[in-house]
């Protein structure tokens, strides 16, 4: 009784990690993805995130139950589908991660430095943020993305995001649009979503991030996705929850309105 489907799970990851070019017959990649989606390890992050949300933590020994993520204190249902948005108390447009950071600092007494240092989990240290985002993201499942553009600062973030998406810079002259504005493109074998196609923006925004990444054995968030793109573009480390990262997310998420949320996702 040695061979179990624990091995199969590892096999499924291997299938996803080594995609094959388009071929006739059953798509091995799709089979692997389906297997992972049915039993997404990201669900373990959802459960841990739920526990962390209600646990009294930090120097102020408080839970996040008084955190206003946009729909009132403590409400997590549906908030992901309506972020980023403007918050009067900070006078800023905030995405889920920057808003959680605000709450962790003001309600729980964590320091910004500490949160930023632990923003991305490693094999040696889990990130609380990745777990919280998984939990809160999953609480919009089945709902349609509906990111507001009412406040002038929301309109500014959207337009700045559009500008930044197309802004070329760095030693390789890249912008986001270099890789994400054409149909059917790949870097090596990695498919690139075309963000000019409404259906693809909806899919990325509503089902893309947070996602469990098989190659990294943890859940990654939208902030990490942007950080990693920045790294590939040979730009310096993108500031966590920087106004630029939030503006890009505002631009994309608003254009993803109508997409039905299903999170966490699962990716290579």
């Amino acid at each position: 009784m040695f061979m179990t489907r624990g091995r199969l799970a590892a096999l499924a990851l291997a299938v996803v990690a080594a995609p094959s070019p388009a071929q006739n017959g059953p798509d091995g990649l799709a089979v692997g993805r389906q297997m992972l989606a049915e039993d997404n390890p990201g669900e373990l992050w959802v459960e841990r995130g739920q526990r962390l949300f209600f646990e009294k933590r930090g120097p102020k020994h408080a839970s996040l139950e008084r955190c206003d993520l946009g729909l009132g204190a403590g409400r997590v249902e549906g908030v992901f589908a309506q972020l980023p948005r403007y918050f009067a108390d900070t006078d800023k447009v905030q995405d889920l991660e920057s808003r959680l950071m605000t709450c962790m600092v003001t309600l729980q007494g964590f320091t910004t430095d500490e949160i930023v240092r632990k923003r991305f989990g490693t094999l040696d240290n889990d990130s609380d943020m990745e777990a919280l985002v998984s939990f809160i993201g999953s609480k919009s499942n089945g709902m349609k993305m509906n990111v507001p553009l009412r406040h002038p600062k929301e309109a500014q973030a959207y337009k700045a995001g559009e500008y930044l998406f197309h802004r070329r810079s760095g030693p390789l002259d890249f912008s986001c649009a270099t890789c994400h504005a054409d149909e059917g493109k790949r870097i090596r074998l990695q498919d690139l979503p075309n963000m000019t196609d409404p259906a693809q923006v909806q899919a990325v925004v509503a089902t893309g991030w947070p996602a469990y990444r098989g190659t990294q054995a943890t859940v990654r968030t939208m902030q990490h996705r942007l950080y990693d793109c920045n790294w590939q573009m040979r730009l310096p480390d993108l500031g966590y929850a920087s106004a630029m990262s939030i503006a890009l997310t505002s631009y994309l998420n608003h254009r993803g309105n109508g997409g039905v949320v299903q999170l966490p996702g699962v990716r290579r």
Partner: protein
């Protein structure tokens, strides 16, 4: 501190389709940490699955099983409401037991 498992058990005819996600580092003893030190082996050695208290699977695992393992099995002769319990024990003696109830086919 071991994290809870996620267990789903769904009836298909008289067979329960049991799917278990475990949170475990499953260190092979070959990875180095950020400081360059070898991370010692740390892996689940034994997995025991019971159906209403009767053992239906007793597996010996090695470091070859992936991080955050997924285990799927099918238990014959199950009924809705039956209890499925899963216990893993790792090489450091850490242990975790979680339970689920077999759900009727949806």
């Amino acid at each position: 501190m071991a994290e809870p498992m996620r267990i789903r058990a769904t009836l298909q005819g008289d067979v329960a389709d049991v799917r278990i996600l475990m949170r475990h580092p499953m260190e092979t003893g070959q990875r180095k940490d950020a400081k360059g030190d070898i991370v010692p082996t740390h892996f689940i050695q034994n997995v025991l699955v019971t159906h209403n208290g009767r053992t239906v699977l007793d597996a010996q695992w090695s470091q070859a099983v992936s991080r955050d393992p997924f285990l799927g099995l099918r238990v014959k002769g199950a009924k809705a409401g039956d209890r499925i319990a899963v216990t893993w024990t790792d090489n450091k003696g850490d242990k975790r037991t979680d339970e689920a109830t077999v759900a009727a086919a949806s």
